[in-house]
């Protein structure tokens, strides 16, 4: 189980990751390969690979084979769990808000 602070750090460690989360949360029906995902946030596939891998590791994103392409999609239940954990962490008494 990842602690709230480290979870927050991992999820918001880069602009790219924030863009990816915004993309998939706003478009939960998105099922696309890394090329398509990168295009939809105005980036190149290679520049998002590490962040995608981290979100796959966290379980926020899932992947499956579709034809020759590995497609990425939002793991809605896992994402909801993580959002809940983050909300609990952010409401911790004594946490200094910026």
């Amino acid at each position: 189980m990842i602690g709230g602070e480290s979870l927050l750090q991992r999820l918001l460690s880069s602009d790219t990751k924030a863009d990816l989360l915004t993309l998939f949360r706003g478009n939960p029906g998105l099922v696309d390969g890394i090329d398509g995902v990168a295009r939809r946030i105005g980036r190149r596939p290679m520049s998002i690979k590490a962040e995608v891998d981290d979100l796959l590791d966290l379980g926020v994103l899932g992947k499956k084979q579709a034809g020759k392409t590995v497609v990425l999609y939002l793991q809605k239940e896992r994402d909801a769990e993580l959002q809940k954990a983050l909300a609990a962490y952010l409401s911790t008494p004594g946490l200094v808000s910026l």
């Binding site: 029906g29 998105l30 099922v31 390969g33 090329d35 398509g36 579709a66 034809g67 392409t69 497609v71």
Partner: protein, 259 residues
């Protein structure tokens, strides 16, 4: 023969009750004519009133934009998804034409909601990812796949404004693959831009042959009467049709002047 009603009363009347269930329908027209709105209304009406859940497959337009646009007509697509009556899937066209790609993306959502309707937005985007000459084959494969799953598919096609002598909807012979074609177009009359809808083809069924005016209202599509007083609308040079009595009067006046 059972019908897949659109839920738009005037359009269903034009279609003599709705699309024939299982028939592939092409909805063609230039950008801005309301293809997406009409297709969404067909799915929303099916899901809410007719117990016919539907899937919307989009390639370029992002789901968040579709949710927002639908909400402006009072259609809550997210709620329909929660109720397992609707699915919105966004992907790249290239994946749809890979071996097993369409099945991997669509089989699960279709089964989950027992879908009866599907919209592909759009086949014109798909054409950009298919080698020239293969589009007809790929679309045929897609349509057959949908029909085998007992779906009534609507395929959107972004066509240029059709005017003059050029009346072909697509230049790749797509019209032969589908059972019905509805064409939406802009019509300029007396310096104002109006919209017209015509059923170009409906295999195995009678249908209204008139070009009818339509509007996109805050509640969706509203089909009006035909442009009765005008002719030449499809050729792009509309003119008021002169009633026969006008000719008679004009002729009589000219004859009097001659005397």
């Amino acid at each position: 023969m059972s019908r897949s009603t659109t839920g738009i009363p005037e359009l269903d009347e034009m279609l003599k009750g709705g699309f024939m269930t299982g028939d592939a329908v092409m909805l063609a027209g230039p950008a801005g004519t309301g293809k997406t709105t009409l297709a969404l209304e067909y799915l929303v009406n099916g899901a809410t009133n007719l117990n016919e859940p539907g899937v919307y497959l989009t390639f370029e337009q992002m789901p968040d934009q579709i949710y927002r646009d639908a909400a402006s007509f009072g259609w809550d697509l997210k709620k329909l998804e929660e109720e397992n009556k609707f699915r919105l899937i966004c992907t790249s066209p290239s994946i749809m034409v890979e071996e097993g790609g369409a099945e991997a993306l669509l089989d699960e959502p279709i089964k989950e909601i027992d879908a009866r309707r599907i919209v592909v937005d759009s086949v014109s985007h798909l054409s950009m990812y298919v080698p020239e000459g293969d589009l007809r084959k790929e679309v045929f494969r897609l349509i057959r796949g949908f029909k085998m799953k007992r779906l009534t598919p609507i395929l959107l096609w972004e066509s240029p404004q059709i005017a003059g002598a050029q009346m072909a909807i697509t230049d790749v012979g797509m019209s032969f693959l589908v059972d019905s074609i509805i064409l939406l177009k802009f019509i300029e009359i007396e310096s104002s831009m109006r919209r017209g809808l015509v059923i170009m083809k409906m295999r195995g069924s009678d249908h209204d042959k008139h070009l009818r005016e339509y509007e996109i209202t805050s509640k969706g599509f509203k089909v009006r009467s035909s442009f009765g007083a005008y002719e030449g609308l499809m050729t792009g040079t509309p003119r008021k049709s002169a009633p026969a009595e006008n000719f008679a009067t004009a002729f009589a006046t000219a004859a009097r002047k001659q005397r």
